[in-house]
């Protein structure tokens, strides 16, 4: 019951917000998002008491081909659900005091998006999962299309077709899996059991990997990313970078590793090499960026490269690190894009080299921005540190040399993030920064919450590790056998 409530509440909320009209849209959406967060808080307490059995939902849906409405929540899913439900109210809050045309559609789409994302994290039936996966694309496409920047039409279309192409390959892969497994079903429990031959796993791996690699994105499938992040409205960018790309990394852990272990064993080295190349490549590009949003997009690319590398390292440290870092990255990147939005909103500029001296005008803003930047460069005692440490440790266990290259992300990350911070915030007050006003209440609230989590998670990450571990261990055992 709690599972259905958790899943469908945002959908109902989206309808309600859409019907309620433009004036109330933002406030209602925030209210609903907070209620949903409270529901997920209740879900956590229930999970701790009763374990994942309390969340099991299984209803036959389509007789032929056998598809069931099968939802389940384990530690991994629960963390992803928490991330989604934690970030959604912050994303809504970040849109307060901004002029948003056709507000009711905007906020309804954000809540729709939340619904689809939650579905992805809960669905345990291949086709059901696929439907939610595709469904998540529709709201974000329309958010970027209708409220985006100047070049939005071409860029969002590229984004849509690119990711849809990946998804359709995955659909094809799922249909193949359906016929390969003797039970002829999409049920994840059967898919975990079924022994597809090594030869077939070898090519099926690519059907799934491409879909996830495009979504995450892993270099060289990342070409849609920076443009889309830049042209989307801020809330769209936050949804994309904060939550949606976690769909990809989550799916690597949930579907790719345990369902096609032999395929992963065969192609994993290539995949991890791609991830590490991506880390170095994205970091170098990020150093050269002049546009603030582009810089953040490439830094995000480097981070998710490390997350994926940790996943393909295929050991418990790597997986643990990836889960922690998914959450940390989600929180940090939303904070960073919000800061970028605040700067753009006040100064009208995203040019790193044209700004400067904002600190003189807005000390509060400078402090919170600083903390989030530090979290993102993985300073010890911030949330970024734990994740990156575990990830690098995992990669190190896998291969020493790879970890050396992957470790460059910390150095290079510090270079471009701190330099960006210096150029934008410090120094003499630049022309665009004249008249920069400090944080408004909604900005203070949203960024304050993020800052608290950057530090708390950095100091005490244990609950996350504990929640994730049994689920990850289970998946790891499945795939090694």
């Amino acid at each position: 019951m709690i599972t259905l409530l958790l899943l469908f509440f945002p959908l109902a909320a989206a309808l309600f917000v859409f019907l309620a009209g433009h004036k109330m849209a933002a406030k209602l959406a925030l209210g609903f998002a907070v209620i949903e967060l409270a529901i997920s808080g209740y879900a956590v307490s229930k999970f701790l008491k009763e374990g994942s059995d309390a969340f099991f939902v299984f209803k036959p849906w389509i007789d032929y081909p056998k598809v069931s409405f099968h939802l389940a929540v384990d530690g991994l899913s629960l963390l992803m659900i928490l991330l989604t439900n934690f970030l959604t109210p912050i994303i809504v809050l970040s849109a307060f005091n901004r002029i948003i045309p056709r507000a009711k559609s905007y906020f309804a789409l954000i809540l729709m998006m939340q619904f689809a994302l939650l579905g992805v994290f809960m669905a345990m039936d291949g086709l059901l999962y696929y439907i939610f996966w595709e469904l998540a694309l529709i709201p974000i496409y329309f958010i970027a299309l209708q409220w985006g920047g100047e070049n939005r039409v071409a860029i969002t279309l590229k984004f849509f077709i690119y990711t849809l192409a990946g998804s359709l390959l995955m659909l094809f892969g799922f249909i193949m899996l359906y016929w390969y497994n003797p039970a002829h079903t999409f049920d994840i429990r059967e898919l975990y059991q079924s022994a597809v031959s090594a030869k077939n796993q070898s090519w099926l791996f690519w059907m799934f990997f491409l879909a996830f690699a495009i979504k995450i994105p892993i270099v060289p499938f990342h070409t849609w990313q920076a443009d889309t992040y830049r042209e989307s409205p801020t809330q769209g960018t936050m949804l994309l970078s904060g939550i949606m790309l976690k769909m990809g990394t989550y799916s690597l852990i949930r579907w790719l590793l345990p369902v096609l272990p032999l395929g992963v064993a065969q192609w994993g080295p290539l995949a991890i090499a791609l991830c590490v190349i991506g880390i170095v490549y994205a970091s170098i590009i990020a150093i050269k960026q002049k546009n603030l949003k582009n810089l953040l997009a490439y830094s995000s690319l480097a981070h998710v490269g490390l997350i994926s590398a940790g996943i393909f390292a295929f050991n418990i440290q790597g997986l643990q690190g990836s889960v922690v870092q998914m959450i940390a990255h989600g929180i940090n990147v939303v904070g960073l894009f919000f800061c970028a939005d605040i700067i753009f909103n006040r100064t009208g500029s995203q040019d790193v080299y044209g700004l400067g001296g904002i600190r003189n005008k807005a000390p509060q803003f400078t402090t919170v921005f600083m903390v989030i930047v530090l979290g993102s460069v993985a300073l010890p005692l911030t949330n970024g540190f734990i994740g990156e440490f575990l990830l690098l440790y995992g990669v190190y266990e896998y291969n020493t040399w790879l970890s050396v290259f992957a470790g460059l992300t910390i150095i290079l990350g510090a270079v471009y993030m701190l330099r960006m911070f210096k150029k934008v915030m410090l120094g003499p007050t630049s022309l665009p920064a004249e008249g920069f006003t400090d944080l408004q209440w909604n900005e203070m609230l949203a960024l304050g919450i993020i800052v608290v989590f950057v530090i708390v998670m950095g100091v005490y990450p244990k609950p996350i590790l504990q929640l994730a571990e049994p689920a990850l261990q289970l998946i790891l055992n499945k795939s090694i056998n």
Binding site: P65, E134, I138, F142, R152, V153, L157, I161, L171
Partner: protein, 462 residues
């Protein structure tokens, strides 16, 4: 069989109504009649008795089975939707209303014959009833030169294809000694298939590929779709296309399944070419009706996959796909026709700014386009899914890969329409659909959604 009789009677009633001057109540009466016929059709599901007329057993000519009843139901429903659109569509020409409606009913009765034929002569009759009615309807805007062109072109090409079909039937008869499907199948399974039979099979396949507008026999369709009055285009794209496919399937599965190895290779190439070329040419279209024509061609390619997969019972997949396709296409036309009549032209730019001018219509067209593109949770997605799944089960893995690639291309042009509505600037022309159009478009979209979420009704029907 009763269904066919009643439909013909309804058609005759239309012609009489003209004399009695009952034009105003005609459309409601027809829709009520179709609802009754639909009901009769459903009743036949439980017991499919052999058809006996005047003491003669007609089951050598036509057979009512679950396949025919299911497709008849779809056909009658589709026709009812088209009738609902027609009263407003023909309001400029009230004098001919009853003629058009009667002809449309005859198209419907032709399709009913196509679903239940058991004899190649009946197949030919069904195709001719449908085609000849369509020739007239395509040219029904008498003073519009393009409508004339469409009717004439369709007539020339179509009669040629009918000739080929007849020739094929003759050769098959010559080889097997029968027109009846089961006897033909028995002849094939006895071994020793003569070359004449194979040539006959080939000719029939060609003619049917022409009728469903598969590459390389597709050239007529964009021109005819573009020139015909929009509602006639909708009829051709939905009712008639699905009917020809069902007839094709029935012929293949009941009569020619034994030579599937022989036809399969050719159909495979045709299907791949149809999906790719249909989608690629659609990319360059500016005219909405031509766009839907090419989209229809590419959908024909997907439906050919179902015909290829006939070793496993893929008729359910065909029915589901057909239903999804019909709902989406009629939904699109229900939006497009009022837009075209307000804007006075039929290119994609007619939809510019519809998202601001009329959000409801824009949303409905968006859903229809998404369903055609095969995006969940709409019916089009599951339709594609079933077709792909059946094809993979039958071992057509590479063809399915081609289908997947083709449908990625397809997304681009469906989105062209969506982009026009939401990103281009609006002008001042007011677009206001009549209530009937609104009902039809909303009904289509809602059914698309319902079918996409609860496909259970259809999946194991036949």
């Amino acid at each position: 069989m009763n269904v066919l009789t009643y439909t013909c009677c309804l058609g005759l009633f239309c012609l009489v109504a003209e004399i009695l001057n009952l034009r105003k109540i005609l459309v409601p009466v027809i829709i009520a009649g179709l609802a009754a016929i639909f009901f009769v059709n459903v009743l036949e599901w439980a017991q499919t008795a052999p058809i006996i007329i005047g003491g003669m057993d007609m089951s050598r000519m036509m057979r009512v089975d679950h396949f025919s009843i299911a497709f008849s139901g779809l056909s009658i429903f589709t026709a009812a939707l088209i009738f609902a659109l027609s009263s407003d569509f023909y309001k400029d020409e009230p004098h001919h209303l009853s003629d058009y409606l009667a002809i449309l009913l005859f198209v419907l009765s032709g399709t009913l014959v196509l679903f239940s034929f058991w004899n190649l002569v009946m197949l030919f009759l069904g195709i001719e009833i449908v085609s000849i009615s369509l020739y007239i309807m395509a040219g029904s805007r008498r003073f519009d030169i393009r409508s004339n062109e469409a009717g004439f072109k369709y007539f020339l090409m179509g009669s040629f294809a009918s000739g080929v079909l007849l020739f094929g039937i003759a050769l098959i008869y010559g080889a097997s000694g029968s027109f009846e499907l089961d006897k033909i199948a028995a002849y094939v399974s006895a071994g020793a298939v003569s070359p004449m039979f194979l040539i006959g099979t080939m000719l029939m396949t060609m003619a049917l590929l022409f009728k469903v507008a598969a590459v390389p026999f597709h050239f007529w369709s964009p021109d005819v779709y573009e020139g015909s009055p929009s509602l006639v285009t909708a009829t051709m794209a939905t009712l008639v296309k699905v009917a020809f496919f069902a007839a094709f399937y029935r012929l293949m599965v009941n009569g020619l399944i034994g030579v599937h190895d022989y036809t399969g290779d050719i159909l495979m190439i045709v299907a791949a070419a149809t999906m790719i070329i249909g989608n690629l040419i659609a990319l360059t279209q500016d005219n909405f009706k031509r766009l839907l024509a090419y989209s229809g061609i590419s959908h024909a390619g997907y439906m050919l996959l179902a015909i290829l997969s006939l070793q496993t019972n893929s008729s359910s997949a065909l029915l589901f796909y057909g239903t999804a396709y019909v709902l989406a296409t009629i939904g699109a036309f229900a939006v497009a026709i009022p837009v075209f009549s307000a804007m006075k032209y039929e290119s994609i730019s007619a939809f510019n700014g519809l998202g601001k001018k009329n959000p409801l219509m824009a949303a409905m067209l968006t859903m229809s386009m998404l369903s055609l593109a095969g995006i969940p949770p709409l019916a089009g997605f599951l339709g594609k899914y079933y077709i792909f799944s059946e094809a993979i089960k039958n071992g057509y893995i590479w063809l399915t890969v081609v289908a997947v690639v083709a449908s990625i291309i397809g997304v681009y042009y469906y989105f062209k329409v969506i982009l026009a509505m939401y990103t281009k600037d609006a002008d001042d022309v007011v677009v206001k659909p009549t209530p009937l159009y609104l009902i039809v478009m909303i009904l289509c979209v809602v059914l698309s959604l319902v079918l996409g979420i609860y496909p259970g009704v259809f999946t194991q029907l036949i």
